[in-house]
Amino acid sequence: MPFIPHTDPEVGAMLDAIGVDTVDALFDEIDDRLRGADISAIPPGENEMAMLAELAGRAREDETGPCFLGAGCYDHHIPAAVWDLAGRGEFLTAYTPYQAEASQGTLQVIYEYQSMMAALTGMDVSNASVYEGGSALAEAVLMAVRIRRRRRRTRPASDSATARVAVAGVCHPHYVETARCIVRHQGIELVETGFGPSGTGTAEALAEVAADGDLVAVVVQQPNFFGAIEPVDDLAAGAKANDALTIAVVNPVALAALKPPGQWNGDGVDIACGDGQPLGVPMASGGPSFGFLCARRDHVRQLPGRLVGRTVDANGRIGYALTLQAREQHIRRGKATSNICTNQGLLVTAATIHMALLGASGLGAVAAECQRRTRQLVAAACAVGGVTRRFDAPHFHECVLDLGRPADAVAASLAKRGIVGGLPLGAYYPELANCLLVCATERRTAADIDAFQDALRHALGSDA
């Protein structure tokens, strides 16, 4: 059931105009041996009703009770207006705004988005999005390397040498994997400093890594993968001391509460990136979300992806257009800052509306409420015998619990009771096999936390 409007007489008239007898004749330049592909394994088409019935059944299968999993994707409330607006056909079904005059809606939204992200991160500029947080980190690393190589243009040796980037403290392991996958072909190596007893990086560990050789950049995630607050000022200072750029990986909701990267160690980092999912994007199995990428003004020409600038039209009216396109693949091809083309525009639209609806005060209240709920969650968990906090660093809306026994079995038990209970850390850190990373957003109620506690008690066999 394709979405084709033609009636038979229309097809006839069109073929007549072209001067062929059949539609098949239009494929006569293609070698016969290639034609008639066998796709019989694909079932016949079905109508929208049947398709929706089947997929609704599958979606229903996956419905669960409350979710206490964070780890880079968070179950926040999204105002109903956000997607009612972002889902309007004019936003949803437009292409990239190459024809500026016919795309002022999208372009102005992006300009507003760039402004909001700059405000939130305390950085000077923001691009119009990359795919998501992990690849945003990859782009940030590539960008840092470009900046460094340009700075040291005079020293050609460094151009081909391996570029070392330190990951200070605890960055999301999937982010590190993603960044490694994407940057490795350009001779870039990511070195993790590991974490200290309180679950964060330390200036000393960073210094040790730096001592092993020249560092291009230092990556710091705040709050870190464990939800712990990294000593970002110290780590940024460590980067500076080693003449390395600082790359911040941040959670945008946390930024309503935490010192923005633009102020770390006083004058701020070079690049700030992260995943925009907490800003109005449903968890939706992790995508589509969007990656944000902000930078100091000096670095704007090394930013990958689209940028929207404010300008004027022939009559002096304010308007918006894509700008500095010479950074991009469609103009610069092999010399572009990145190969990115399609980005995550619709999610940026949603995030812009979301931020407009929440404002600074709303975002701050969300951050505080998440924190309050997580405090309650941790207290409830620790009231169950044998459960403790694994690390003592202050944390934001996420926390590592030590369950005293393998966390994956406990998580499986919670799942049987319909609770998505957190992330068992053993797969990432064998030494943390008894640990569960848990999170509570503002959507988690006291009843949810009680249910978590009950299920945990049950799983740990301490019902009594």
Partner: protein, 515 residues
């Protein structure tokens, strides 16, 4: 330009706006400190368990507006866009076809929206079944051995594909291959990707018939060749007829063939890249599989590979475990030591994959073929009508595939209006412009892709507009050169945009100065 009388509104893409100004006000201009969309605020709680040193001292300069202000502002902005839902949008290479609302609904099912990406497999069988089904569908329709859905757009699919080519050669210890061959007509992402993967780009020319110059190709290919990136149908809007020869040349030199699937719509269900000899490819689900473009994204660019590249597929992907009741499970890096790795924190643009599956299910096997048939029919009809109307085709001897190129070189020199002028004036006629000045090798070109979802009447109206614009140009070139006239803004000053960079609203600028 002469000012229009007061009674006439050019301004916002909306009716009833003699009043100017407000329409282009930004959300920042509407805010006031202390205003707020109260219903969206949790009750304020304290953050006092966080050490002061790590806390934010000054709240971010986000706008503080009421809910109605936000709704009205973004509603009014939205209507300043052309989109598939309101206009014909024949943007070549972009496959701007109808994005079924049913597919959007499927992806918006609460069970899908609420699923956490790292939720246990035991509570994810519905979602995993969807991914697996899509993997199988894409395998069949491309004629390949395996699929990974994780790339988040075409360009990331390209990256994954070329990275797999590299991994393949490396796994064989074949380390000397340092070049990727790319035709001049290729999309910019192709060379950019090759470079990201550490390769040098070797360009080969496209002949006057639109096909790759085989002699040049022969000369370009050798022991240094890691592979070739090809789009077929190409961005010239023609089918690369000698694809068999090309495959042989590259394969014989030890290189692999990468298929840029951006143009798959032209041959969906009729001709398969795998059958043409390609080793690896990506698809743009946001083109061929009709997921919406969202004003720039998101997309999805699954990769499909022939047998020999299977070990290198990016993770994660889904495997079916047969049994009494089939179960589905993730396959991740721990089980795939040769995988190129992970391309994103989770598993890609899941919601786009659901949309694509919904679309594929509605099409079914016959539907896929009919897509190719009618996309091709519409392109050839439009091409014929434009030629009859006196426009010059870039490849007049060739069939159109799903798209074709008109060159306005003649009009540019005789009338003084170029392809961009035509494009802008088309906006006044209610049509989005075709792709302009791409591929770069055809001067003053319009790359026109009507897609299968447009009616004959719409195509006819487009031909009429093109002819009328040419007539206008002959009479009053300035009318066309200064178009558009009926949009919220007239032509924008791109030079000023780049020179006097203004990327953020003044309200949000950091104290250190203007960006």
């Amino acid at each position: 330009m002469k000012q229009q009388p007061d009674r006439v509104s050019h301004s916002p893409g909306a009716i009833g706006k003699a009043r100017t100004g407000t329409a282009s006000a930004t959300i920042f201009d509407l805010g006031a400190p202390g205003r707020a969309a109260a219903a969206q605020q949790p009750s304020p709680a304290a953050l006092d368990d966080l050490p002061a040193a790590c806390r934010r001292t000054v709240p971010p300069e986000l706008p503080e507006v009421s809910e109605l202000q936000a709704v009205r502002h973004y509603t009014n902005l939205s209507v300043r866009n052309f989109a598939i839902d309101n206009r014909f949008y024949p943007l070549g290479s972009c496959t701007m076809k109808y994005n079924p609302r049913g597919a959007h609904r499927a992806a918006s099912l609460p069970g899908f929206l609420a699923r956490h990406p790292l939720a246990p497999e035991s509570v994810s069988q519905g979602f995993l079944a969807c991914l697996h089904e899509l993997q199988e569908t894409l395998k069949t329709v491309t004629g390949t051995a395996a699929v990974s859905l994780t790339p988040m757009a075409g360009a990331q699919g390209e990256f994954a594909g070329v990275a797999m080519i590299r991994a393949y050669h490396q796994a064989r210890g074949d380390d000397a291959r340092r070049e990727i061959v790319i035709p001049t007509a290729a999309h910019g992402t192709n060379p950019a990707t090759a470079v990201m993967c550490g390769y040098a780009v070797r360009e080969v020319a496209v002949g006057t018939d639109g096909d790759v110059d085989i002699d040049q190709l022969r000369a370009a290919v050798g022991a240094q060749t890691a592979g070739i990136m090809l789009t077929n149908p190409s961005t010239c809007g023609v089918f690369e007829r000698r694809i068999g020869d090309i495959a042989d040349i590259v394969h014989n030199a030890g290189g692999l063939l990468y298929y840029d699937g951006a143009n798959l719509n032209a041959i969906l269900g009729k001709v398969r890249p795998g059958d043409m000899g390609f080793d690896v490819l990506h698809m743009n689900l946001h083109k061929t599989f009709a997921t919406p473009h969202g004003g720039g994204g998101p997309g999805s660019g699954p990769v499909a590979v022939a047998e020999r590249l299977v070990p290198f597929l990016p993770v994660p992907f889904v495997e079916r475990v047969d049994g009494e009741e089939p179960r589905y499970r993730w396959v991740d890096a721990d089980e795939r030591p040769q995988s190129i790795g992970r391309l994103s924190a989770f598993m890609g643009n899941a919601g786009i994959l659901i949309r694509a599956l919904a679309y594929a299910r509605m099409l079914g096997r016959q539907g896929m073929e009919r897509v190719a048939d009618h996309a091709t029919l519409n392109a050839n009809y439009l091409m014929t009508r434009l030629r009859q109307a006196g426009f010059t085709l870039a490849y007049p001897e060739r069939r159109a595939t799903h798209e074709f190129i008109v060159t306005l070189q003649k009009e540019a020199s005789s009338l003084g209006v170029n392809a961009m002028d035509f494009a802008k004036r088309l906006l006044d006629y209610g049509f989005h412009a075709p792709t302009t000045y791409f591929p770069l090798l055809v001067p003053e070109c319009l790359l026109i892709e009507p897609t299968e979802t447009e009616t004959k009447a719409e195509l006819d109206a487009f031909v009429d507009a093109m002819a009328r614009i040419r007539a206008e140009a002959a009479q009053d070139a300035e009318l066309v050169r200064s178009a558009p006239w009926t949009l919220p803004v007239s032509r924008l000053d791109d030079v000023k945009a780049a020179r006097e960079l203004d990327l953020t609203h003044a309200a949000t600028r950091t104290p250190s100065g203007e960006t």
